[in-house]
């Protein structure tokens, strides 16, 4: 990122503080409005083909003790971020949480990390600057990527050119925190296969699936980090690769697919930048449980609630998903990716994936 961008991000943050200043001076109650981040307030943007926030806003106002505390924390966070940008350093979300402990004001300290995370999200939305531009990283290292892709990464220690099959170990290529520093050089992959669990990713790599089918295997590591979603989006947009998502067959995994394809509720302001609406779901589909006679676990109460809440989630209100979710509620069962091993270790690479991908028209 250029120094200009950093400077601009910093100015936008300080503008926000100035806004509070002006409110004080005008005798107004300091306040800040952000879109309500719930599933009831996301709308489908037809133009961009992604889900974005609707019109509903929540106001953080100094009217109440809670609101005043929140704004005080916001100002302290702004100061911290502005300083960080000035010094061209970066920090993780978790570091921000711990760092607040060192602030001179007890009232400004965060109570838990959810609070500091959501504060950064607020500032992101209000200032229009992304978290990455604030130099805020998630604490976990990014996920990995494996497949016939040649790229150049701009690191703090200079440029590196990497082939994501030949230059990496079995662990694959580590996706950097800000994938916009990557330049794609060459790509022999036919499609992207995003996999939820580490176990399945390792199975695919061990079985040589990426080589055999020219697949770019992206490890999602559960709910995918922004960097993972961003690089997936870039690979799709810039190289025209179809995106497929392979997860467990339970409601929580459908949400993983949802955040790849439609964007997450918490980062709907960035959907346009992170979501890949063309991504397709491979499975495990509830229909697969029946078709492949997979071993199952019964749905728990929280699973059922989650499925029912998905039926009300506008992102899942498509014919395909309503049918699958209702089928699963009827079955009362769920299956993991690894349950495919009940038919042998090679079943997934030799039978299940080829069949499903063929069905989906990817192969």
């Amino acid at each position: 990122m250029s120094a200009d961008d950093t400077q601009q991000a910093r100015e936008q943050l300080i503008d926000l503080a100035a806004q509070f200043y002006d409110q004080f001076e005008l005798g107004e109650i300091p306040h800040m409005s952000v879109p309500t981040r719930t599933k009831n307030n996301i709308e489908y943007d037809e133009e961009m083909d992604v889900w974005v926030y609707g019109d509903r806003e929540s106001t953080r106002s100094a009217n109440s003790v809670r609101g005043a505390r929140k704004l005080l924390k916001a100002v302290y966070t702004i100061e911290f971020l502005a300083d960080q940008l000035e010094e061209d350093r970066s920090s993780t979300l978790r570091e921000l949480y711990y760092l607040s402990e060192s602030w001179d004001n007890d009232e400004a300290q965060f109570n838990d990390q959810d609070e500091s995370n959501s504060m950064v999200e607020d500032l992101e939305i209000v200032s229009g600057v992304t978290r990455e531009d604030f130099h805020m990283r998630p604490e976990e290292s990014g996920a990995t990527l494996m497949g016939p892709l040649h790229l150049r990464e701009q690191t703090r220690r200079g440029e590196r050119e990497i082939h994501c099959q030949e230059d990496v170990g079995e662990g694959g290529y580590q996706i950097p925190n800000n994938p916009d520093t990557i330049e794609f050089l060459d790509c022999d992959a036919d499609f992207i296969l995003a996999v939820e669990t580490g176990g399945m990713r390792d199975r695919l790599v061990e079985n040589g699936f990426d080589e055999e089918y020219d697949a770019l295997i992206v490890h999602l590591k559960g709910q995918p980090a922004r960097a993972t979603r961003r690089i997936t989006k870039r690979l799709h947009d810039e190289l025209g690769l179809p995106v497929t998502v392979f997860t467990d067959g339970d409601p929580w995994s459908y949400r993983i697919y949802g955040s790849v394809a439609y964007g997450s509720i918490k980062s709907a302001h960035l959907s346009e930048y992170l979501a890949t609406p063309e991504a397709d779901f491979i499975g495990i589909q509830p229909a697969d449980i029946v078709e492949y006679e997979l071993p199952t676990d019964p749905l728990s109460d929280s699973d059922i609630n989650a499925l029912e809440s998905e039926l009300e989630d506008p992102r899942f209100q498509t014919e395909y998903w309503e049918k699958q979710i209702e089928l699963q509620l009827d079955l009362g069962k769920k299956s993991e990716q690894q349950s495919l091993a009940s038919h042998g270790l090679d079943f997934v690479t030799e039978t299940y994936l080829p069949e499903r991908l063929d069905e989906m028209g990817v192969l």
Binding site: V65, L71, L72, I78, E79, E107
Partner: protein, 824 residues
């Protein structure tokens, strides 16, 4: 007794023997043995009761004479005995009545009066005298001086328990420093274990009698309760009894005593709330009970084969064809004009027909002719004409009564009942009416079909029983009641004159019908001028006088009626302040301004207080029922011409539903005020807390914002005032030539209108004052006064000009300090 009875046959003299040992006992003797009934069951209690009786008497006496009571109570310890002295400033007693008041039980002026007073039976003080003489053997020493007399009367007396008469041992005149009043001195065996109750009694008396001055001196302590008002309770007026509250025996006595001739006059004269109209309603109700109503049958319709015309003509002889025909015509038309017709209505119809035809045709229709016509038509109407073939009803199917009763019964019973069943029922009921014709041998049967409701119900019951038996269906209570109601509803009250008072006098059954009739008639509630509630204002004053609390509320309900006696319930609540915060709240109970100190648990007032959900009113109530906890005193006053007590010792109000309801409403009314006070206090506390936190956070935020933006610290007062929904008063001073222009701006950020009193003290004379402000000079300082009313979200400004060197000092009142921000 059984053992005596078994020997009755052998010993004839047993009854005589028993009779010898039977003798009448005097009331005084009776109470001597039953002291507990009057509250003298122990030494501790006896002392409290004696004080109570003496003080109640003293208060009543003073108030009745329009004197503000001033009462002195002293208790002295004399060896094993206690001496009780009670002095009042009442009107005093005459030489003649004094011995009886103190020395004879059941002597008093109040027993027969329907008026609110403390004492009622005339037992209390003489019972105290009796108790004293029984336990100490000493006579009561009484001094009394009436207004204007030079000397006071002094008596020493005891109650002669055999005769219930005073026995005077000393009678002389003496001097006394009080210009008028009474003093009683009793010596009794007692103890001070009930000291707390004694103090409660005196203190509570002071609360409900804010117009009285009380002083209590006992061996250990000395209390004085000063007056809170000079206003005597409103004078009460005696009222006549209310018809709903009298018993049969009372009415019989009243009938003997009255000067009225007629029942109508009697009820109007002797009872309250009875005028001509109400008297008529009572008499109608009396007729229904005493004489019964007459059944009204439907007149024949055209398709019925009944020829009233012919029947009249047949019954009328020697009156000429034309006149007879006109007579018959007039009667038939008259009957047809009725929806239903009763015997006495038929009588009227025939009378008017006869008179009309007499006028027109000049023929006289005498009594016999009229009677014959009535009988002929009536027998047709009730289908009871004797025919040659035998019983008329059977000849051509059902009697017409059956059809009539069928319709009534069908209407009144549920649709689930079979038509045939109803028909069978109607048939049997009609037979009952037919049977009435022969029932009473003395006056040729009950031809007129006259029944009381009780008779009717008996018939219905019998017939229903038969129907159940023969038709094997159930004919329940409700159905019987409904049918009875339906038939009773169409029956007509008879026009018979009610008996005269002298006829009623001594006739127990008829008088009982009259009492029933009075109870059944709707009568306006009795007047309340016989009651003297304390009033909301004085309850609060009384509570304030005796309890140092933060908040007081009171409520006086409108009068209600229970058993013919009017009553008023009042409640008061004191909260907070110096009241003990630990433990349960206190309940003070009063009846006719007398504190009730014993048997708290048996009292209706306590029951009601316990049944209220005090949590709804912001008080702590463990378990959600029972007495509330915390610094609270709840006061309840029941005023009535006849407070229903659970016993003669008058310690607890009985559980009468009407009174309990009013007690609850009164308490809830006062409790609502308490609730809004507590809510307000809570919201002020929250506001203070919020102010404290925000008062810290916002300046810090402002400092930080200034740091980040690199500017000077912003002014945050306006923002804070707005956040706190506060009223902001701000001074703005501008140079203006040689002097300065001052403006004091009031900005109301709250959601309600605010009235402020602003005083600006200026060291030099202000000029060019804005409208509404006034200025007063005092010792070289000018007080600018301004009392603006500022609406919600509005502002107002005070403006003036002063020389440049002037100084100011702003004082703002009218807004709670939590809601006010002043910027000088």
């Amino acid at each position: 007794m059984t053992s005596f009875q078994s020997t009755l046959g052998d010993e004839s003299g047993i009854a005589e023997e028993l009779a010898e040992s039977q003798q009448s006992i005097s009331i005084a003797e009776f109470f001597e043995k039953n002291k507990h009934m009057l509250g003298f069951d122990s030494g501790a209690r006896g002392l409290v009761t004696a004080v109570k009786e003496a003080v109640d008497n003293a208060l009543d006496a003073a108030e009745e004479s329009g004197i503000l009571p001033d009462i002195y109570v002293e208790i002295q310890e004399i060896g094993d005995y206690y001496r009780l002295i009670v002095e009042d400033n009442g009107p005093g007693l005459t030489k003649e009545s004094l011995p009886k008041v103190f020395g004879k039980l059941l002597y008093g002026s109040r027993f027969h009066a329907r008026e609110q007073s403390r004492g009622q039976q005339g037992i209390g003080i003489s019972a105290a005298v009796l108790y004293a003489q029984l336990t100490s053997g000493k006579p009561a020493k009484i001094t009394s001086r009436t207004q204007g007399s030079d000397e006071a009367e002094y008596f020493e007396l005891i109650v002669d328990t055999d005769t219930n008469e005073p026995e005077i041992s000393v009678e002389e005149t003496t001097t006394w420093d009080r210009p008028h009043g009474t003093r009683i001195e009793l010596e009794m065996e007692a103890n001070m274990r009930a000291r707390q109750q004694l103090h409660d009694y005196i203190k509570h008396t002071a609360v409900v009698n804010p117009h009285a001055r009380l002083e209590l001196r006992e061996p250990q302590e000395h209390f004085k309760f000063e007056r809170a008002t000079d206003q005597l309770p409103a004078e009460t007026e005696e009222i006549r009894p209310h018809p709903h509250g009298v018993e049969l025996g009372t009415v019989m006595k009243m009938l003997t005593a009255t000067d009225s001739q007629t029942v109508s006059g009697f009820v109007q004269e002797e009872f309250t709330r009875v005028g001509k109209k109400t008297a008529d309603s009572i008499i109608d109700a009396f007729r229904d009970r005493h004489y019964g109503r007459e059944m009204r049958w439907r007149p024949p319709t055209t398709h019925e084969d009944i020829d009233l015309h012919g029947a009249v003509e047949d019954a009328t002889a020697n009156k000429g064809a034309e006149a007879t025909a006109a007579f018959a015509e007039a009667i038939a038309d008259g009957v047809a004009d009725h929806d239903r017709i009763a015997h006495h209505e038929l009588l009227e119809t025939v009378e008017s027909a006869a008179e009309a035809v007499e006028d027109e045709h000049g023929t006289t229709f005498g009594d016999t002719v009229r009677e014959n016509a009535v009988e002929a038509v009536w027998l047709e109407l009730i289908d009871a004409v004797e025919t040659d073939e035998g019983d008329g009803a059977e000849g051509d199917g059902d009697s017409r009564l059956v059809a009539d009763l069928y319709d009534l019964a069908d209407e009144a019973t549920s649709t689930r009942k079979d038509d045939e069943i109803i028909h069978a029922f109607a048939d049997r009921l009609a037979a009952k009416f037919d049977a009435e014709l022969e029932s009473d041998e003395e006056d040729a049967g009950n031809v007129r079909h006259r029944l009381t409701r009780t008779d009717l119900r008996e018939h219905v019951d019998r017939v229903a029983d038969l129907t159940e038996e023969y038709d094997d269906v159930s004919f329940g209570k409700t159905a019987r009641e409904n049918v009875t109601d339906a038939i009773w509803g169409v029956m007509a009250t008879v026009p018979d004159d009610p008996p005269l008072v002298r006829e009623l006098d001594g006739d127990r059954d008829a008088t009982s019908d009259l009492v029933d009739a009075m109870r059944a008639t709707d009568i306006m509630a009795p007047p309340t001028r016989c009651l003297a509630p304390i009033s909301e204002e004085l309850i609060t004053a009384g509570l304030k006088k005796e309890f140092d609390a933060d908040f007081y509320a009171s409520a006086t309900r409108d009068a209600g009626v229970s058993g013919g006696d009017p009553f008023i319930v009042e409640a008061g609540i004191a909260y907070g302040g110096e009241l003990p915060a630990e433990g349960t709240g206190d309940v003070m109970r009063f009846a006719n301004r007398v504190p009730l100190v014993y048997q708290r648990g048996a009292c209706a007032t306590t029951d009601v207080v316990k049944s209220i959900g005090w949590r709804n009113y912001g008080l702590d109530q463990p378990g959600g029922s029972g007495l509330p906890n915390g610094p609270v005193v709840i006061m309840i006053h029941v005023a009535s011409t006849n407070v229903p007590f659970t016993s003669e010792s008058k310690d607890a109000v009985a559980n009468v539903p009407e009174i309990e309801d009013e007690i609850e409403l009164a308490i809830r009314e006062a409790a609502r005020d308490l609730k809004s006070y507590l809510n307000k206090r809570r919201s002020m506390q929250q506001r203070r807390k919020k102010q404290n936190v925000l008062g810290k956070i916002l300046p810090e935020m402002a400092t930080k914002v200034a740091e980040v933006t690199g500017r000077d610290e912003p002014d945050i007062d306006d923002a804070i005032a707005r956040i706190m929904n506060n009223v902001l008063v701000e001074r703005d001073v501008n140079e203006n030539g040689d002097g300065q222009a001052v403006s004091v701006v009031v900005e109301n950020n709250s959601s309600t209108n605010e009235s402020l009193e602003i005083t600006d003290i200026v060291s030099a004379e202000p000029t060019a004052l804005s409208d509404g402000a006034t200025v007063v000079e005092m010792d070289g300082e000018w007080f600018v006064k301004w009392e603006p009313e500022v609406g919600s979200d509005d502002e107002a400004a005070l403006e003036y000009e002063v020389p440049a060197d002037a100084t100011f000092d702003l004082d703002v009142k009218g807004v709670e300090s939590e809601k006010l921000t002043v910027n000088q």
